[in-house]
Each structure stands twice: as structure tokens, then as C-alpha cells.
């Protein structure tokens, strides 16, 4: 299988962004009860730092980052912690530990938050501030921003690409952000450039967002920073996927087993840049994000600037509530999003969009039929995999073959599903195969550790028994000696 040199495949999808973009970006009301997930979407949870009854303000740390893939979590509101509870969350786990906070309405800010004089700050210090602020990638994957920036600095990446492509048909939170806060995006670009040490930055936007492009151009002219440029891309799904975007902007293909800094580039979402800008302007950690609430099932689709931890139900209520009985709630876009079991799940940094889908939005999928080997999936697959062969290997349970067909390289974009004439839910299969593999690896690791401890335990017990026996022998011979002597 010859790898493709750039990214031509993909799909031209009909955009569904008009309805929410008719409304201006506005702040969502802060609900009386916030549920702040300790896993903001990357898959690893922070360690809780508060217990029931603690007083918190906006920006008070409530969760400590553990390891490289979780982010620090802060209170998005002033009030009292009701407790750390297991609640439904939007990620694949379904439920997870959340800090539940009762809002007292005062919106008091944690003392000590002051704007940062970032140009004079050493980059390492700035990276540490970004880490402490708990900023995750706001494009949907919620990988800690500082970890990517630090990796780019370590590998001396020279080119930062800010992702404003937003290729998913329903999502338009980045469009709203760029239209209304373009100056923040450009300031964020400067901050991130300083933090990661890259020499130039490209803000990449798809050509179906003329207002956003105009706003960014105005902000760029105002900033007059020769390092930052704007690139407009043809609107093809999934241009906004990291590797595909980098290929489209720089012409470089990131090796499948390496990360972008290996070829001197890195990618961050425009929302992440704006969050970094907000951090240096106010000194406050990340406590909110812009989220698109859309779909035919909601009365007034809109983009909301909402506090993290706001239940999705409150966001929908802020958009006029349900219009009709929704068939499905989706967190993320229609192509890559995940169905939500309940609207009680809270907003996390990973949730860029909530689609309240009705029958009008969903194409009836129809019954799954056998694969006819037409190969349509392979012609649209952006990373150039052979989805039909991959599916066959997964069905056969052949781990080596699955790895050879590149399950790890699947970006779960959904293009193969979309074109499959047999209506096979390929992406869902790939996703669950990946998760099952992770569970198997976890289990195997735990078993290996248990085996090791069992061996040590046996050895220790044997050594103790031997020591006991020797002590007994010694005592007996001593007693015998005393009797005879």
C-alpha cells in the first residue's frame, strides 16, 4: 500500500452552520449547580483537591493534573463544593468523577489573578503558566495544550499552525470566536509563538467563513506582526483534522508513527490560542469555552460562551429549549461526535458543539449489509487506509493484521461510513476495536504486575519460614547444650 503524499481525499459536505451564526455570540446564564468533570475530555482525570463544604471562587484549583494527559481543573464559579461525585460525563467512559459546585451568584474571582507581562517572561515560565491554567486543546480532543507546546519547543518546531478550519458540518464555535474575538486569536498566536519558540504562525481558515477571514485580516493588520499570516483553505472535510490540516497548509506529511514536531510543525486550535490570550490578559485559568448549540430539535440555535461544568440541559434551555422530542443528542459534530445518553452531562473543554438531532437531521441509516468490496471507503480515507480490509481483520480478531492495516492511524473522521453503500458503521467498529484493545493491554499490564508481586510474596514467605526454622534450631541446640553442660 503506497502512502499518499498529501491530502486530497475527503468529502464535500453540506454545511449546516447558518442557523446558529444568525445569532450573535452571547454568554450563557450560569446555572445554580455546576458539575465540573475532573476529566476534561483527554481520557485521564485530575485528582480532586477539594471536599464537600469547601468555599471556592472563580479560578480556585479543584483538581490537580496527574501525568501528562490530564489538565488542572479550576472552579468556574464562586460558591460551595457540594461534593466529588460520580456523574455522567460526555467522554467515552460514560461517567466519571465530577466536582459539584453550588453557585452563590457572587462571581467572586480568586485573589492573585493579574495580567501577565508575557513578552518578558522566559518561555519555560510561560509554559508553566499555561500548564497551571489547565488549558486543553479546545478543538475537541482536549489534549493538554502545554504538553504539545513543550514537545514542539523540545524538538525546535519552527511553524505553528492555528486551526480555524472547522470542517464539521454543524460546528461553528470557532467561526463565532474568530468573528467576534479575532484580536484574542492573534494575541494568542503571539503568546503561543513565544511559548513554543516557533518562528512563524499560520492561521488556517476554510473559505466558507468570509466574515471570520475578514475579522482575522483586520486583527492581523492591527497587530502588524510579520510572523503571523492567514491561509484560506478549500472547504473539504476533514481539513480540520490535525495531520490533514498540516499537510494542506505546509505540504508536509507527518509520519504515521510520529508527532507533528518531528517534521518541525505543530497545530493548535484557534480557541486554545484565544484561551491563552485570556490567560495573559486576566491571569485567570480556563473556566469557560464557546460551544455551538444547534440542530432542528432546539428552538434558537446559537453559539454560547458558557462556563465549564454547565449541564447541557441548561445550555439547551438557554437556546429556547427543545423544539420537539430529540432523537439523539450528540456532543461534537455529526461526523466525529459521540451520542450522549442524557442531557445531564456537563460542558467540558472537549465539547465544542451539541447537536440536538431530530428525524429531519438524521439520515435513516438502514440495515447494515455485507461488504461488497467496492473500495469506496478506501478512496475517501484521508490517512489512506483500507477500511474494508481493516474491518475484516477486526472481525477476524487478527491483532497483527489489524496493526498492519493501521488501526492506530485511523482519525475516526467518519468518511468511510458516509460513503459505504452497505451502510456498515465502520468508524464505530474501529473506535470500539481501539477501546477494546486498550482494555486488553491494561488487563495484561495489571496481570504482569500481579505475577511479579505474587513471586516476591512467595519468596518472602519462604524466607520468613526458613528464618523461623533456623531460629528454632538454634534455640533447641542452645537448650540441649545447657542441659548437658
Amino acid at each position: 500500500m503506497a502512502p499518499r503524499s498529501t491530502f486530497p481525499p475527503g468529502l464535500e459536505l453540506e454545511a449546516r452552520k447558518a442557523a446558529p451564526m444568525r445569532q450573535p455570540l452571547r454568554a450563557a446564564p450560569v446555572p445554580p449547580l455546576l458539575v465540573v468533570a475532573l476529566d476534561q475530555g483527554s481520557g485521564d482525570a485530575a485528582q480532586p483537591l477539594v471536599t464537600a463544604g469547601a468555599r471556592v471562587r472563580i479560578g480556585t484549583p479543584v483538581g490537580r493534573a496527574v501525568g501528562e494527559t490530564s489538565v488542572a481543573v479550576h472552579s468556574p464559579v464562586a460558591g460551595v463544593v457540594r461534593g466529588v461525585e460520580t456523574r455522567p460525563v460526555p467522554g467515552s467512559a460514560g461517567e466519571g468523577a465530577c466536582v459539584v459546585i453550588e453557585n452563590d451568584g457572587s462571581d467572586e474571582i480568586e485573589p492573585g489573578c493579574a495580567s501577565i507581562d508575557w513578552p518578558t517572561l522566559p518561555p519555560q515560565e510561560l509554559l508553566a503558566r499555561i500548564r497551571r491554567a489547565g488549558i486543553a486543546g479546545l478543538g475537541g480532543a482536549a489534549f493538554p495544550a502545554y504538553a504539545k507546546l513543550a514537545a514542539a519547543r523540545e524538538r525546535s518546531a519552527t511553524h505553528l499552525v492555528l486551526n480555524g478550519a472547522e470542517c464539521e458540518p454543524w460546528i461553528c464555535c470557532d467561526d463565532a470566536l474568530m468573528r467576534e474575538r479575532a484580536a484574542d486569536v492573534v494575541l494568542g498566536a503571539q503568546v503561543l509563538l513565544h511559548a513554543c519558540g516557533a518562528a512563524k504562525c499560520t492561521i488556517a481558515v476554510e473559505d466558507d467563513k468570509p466574515e471570520a477571514i475578514a475579522a482575522i485580516e483586520v486583527a492581523l493588520a492591527a497587530a502588524a506582526d510579520p510572523r503571523i499570516e492567514l491561509a484560506t483553505l478549500r472547504a473539504v472535510y476533514p481539513t480540520g483534522a490535525e495531520r490533514q490540516l498540516l499537510a494542506a497548509v505546509t505540504g508536509l506529511e507527518v509520519p504515521h508513527d510520529a508527532l507533528p514536531p518531528a517534521v518541525g510543525v505543530m497545530c493548535q486550535n484557534v480557541g486554545t490560542a484565544a484561551a491563552a490570550a485570556r490567560l495573559v490578559r486576566t491571569g485567570q485559568p480556563i473556566t469557560g469555552r464557546i460551544v455551538t448549540v444547534t440542530g432542528s430539535g432546539v428552538r434558537q440555535p446559537a453559539n454560547l460562551d458558557a462556563r465549564l461544568g454547565t449541564p447541557i440541559a441548561d445550555l439547551i434551555a438557554a437556546c429556547g429549549g427543545y423544539d420537539s422530542e430529540p432523537l439523539r443528542l450528540i456532543a461534537g459534530g455529526s461526523m466525529t461526535g459521540r451520542a450522549l445518553a442524557t442531557d445531564a452531562v456537563p460542558l467540558t473543554q472537549a465539547v465544542n458543539c451539541v447537536v440536538v438531532a431530530t428525524a429531519a437531521d438524521l439520515v435513516a441509516r438502514g440495515r447494515e449489509m455485507p461488504c461488497i468490496r467496492c473500495g469506496d471507503c478506501a478512496t475517501v480515507c484521508p490517512p489512506g487506509l483500507l477500511p474494508q480490509s481493516l474491518l475484516r481483520a477486526i472481525t477476524a480478531g487478527d491483532d497483527a493484521e489489524v496493526a498492519r492495516h493501521g488501526l492506530a492511524d485511523c482519525i475516526e473522521c467518519g468518511c468511510c461510513d458516509y460513503v459505504c453503500p452497505s451502510r456498515i458503521p465502520l468508524t464505530a467498529r474501529f473506535r470500539s476495536a481501539r477501546e477494546a484493545r486498550k482494555v486488553r493491554l491494561d488487563e495484561r499490564q495489571r496481570a504482569a504486575a500481579a505475577r511479579e508481586r505474587f513471586l516476591r510474596h512467595e519468596q518472602r514467605l519462604a524466607a520468613m519460614a526458613e528464618a523461623d526454622r533456623q531460629a528454632f534450631e538454634a534455640a533447641r541446640s542452645r537448650a540441649r547444650g545447657e542441659r548437658e553442660g
Binding site: A93, E435, A436, V439, D442, A449, R451, R453, F454, H457
Partner: protein, 180 residues
Amino acid sequence: MSATTVLPAIGVAMGLAVVLGAALGWAATRLRPDAGRLVESIDALLPQTQCGQCRYPGCRPYAEAIARGDADIDQCPPGGENTVHALAALLGRDPKPPDPAFGATKPRLVAVIDETRCIGCALCLPACPVDAIVGAQRFMHTVIEQQCTGCELCLPPCPVDCIELRPPLASDTARGRRAA
């Protein structure tokens, strides 16, 4: 057909038989599959619960018994059907359902010590085959959840019955559910 044409053919056949027989005999003694390595590969497929439900004192002794031919492959309830299948594939035998006489396959549970009732007797410490309980005499004990295999061997020695088995906490169950 004369003897001169038949005899060389018989001679060649007998010669081959002797040479190949000797080679096979040598291979049988010198190239015998290493018993230790067989035990290793069997042990690698077992779940390492060390629960003893197979009636051997741990997964490795059970692996040794299978390698010797003393135990069957269907005696591991925590491993369930998957383990029987893996063992059958490794040993070239027919898979069969796990034998219910050794216990039922259950989802993973972990031991939890009710710390208000624990008297600090330390009897459960040596009973834990994987050293997942921390504590000392007259001090409270607790179970390290990630390291507990749910073998239940700590239950009988506890004089105040303060240990019970529960599903593991959120993150772990969530993983399990994802797999299902």
C-alpha cells in the same frame, strides 16, 4: 526381477530408515520443548488473580500442573471462556466451557476494608497473594484498589469480617463498560 536389482533398493530404504530413526530419536531427547518455557507461556495466559479456585496455590502452580498434564484447561473461573480458548489454542486442544465445579466467572471485584471495623490484626496481610493490602499490627489496614485481583483470600482470615468485595471505583468500571 533379479536379486541384484531388488537388494540395492532394500538396502537404500533400510539405510534411510536407520538414519531418519536415529535423527528422530536424537531430536526427541535433545529438542524436546523446554518444560520451563511451556509453563511460562501458559502462565502468561492466566489472569494472575492468584485466587486458588483451580485448587492450586496460585496461577503459576496451575500452569505447571497443566504443563505436566495433571490439570485440565477449564479450571480457571476468573479467566473464563477467553482463557480456556487461549489455552486451547496454545496447547492444540479442543476448547470447552469452563468447568462450573471450580466456581462461576464474575466481573472484576476488589476487596474493600471497612476501616471503622478493622482491628489491625494483620492476619489478612500474609493472606494476600499479591501484597495489595497495606497495614501493620494495631494500625488500620487498607486495600490498594489497582493492585487487588479480587481473589477473596483475605476474607476467611479476617476475625471481624470487615472485608467485602465491591465493584472497583468509577474510572475502572468505566473502562470495563467501554470494553463491553
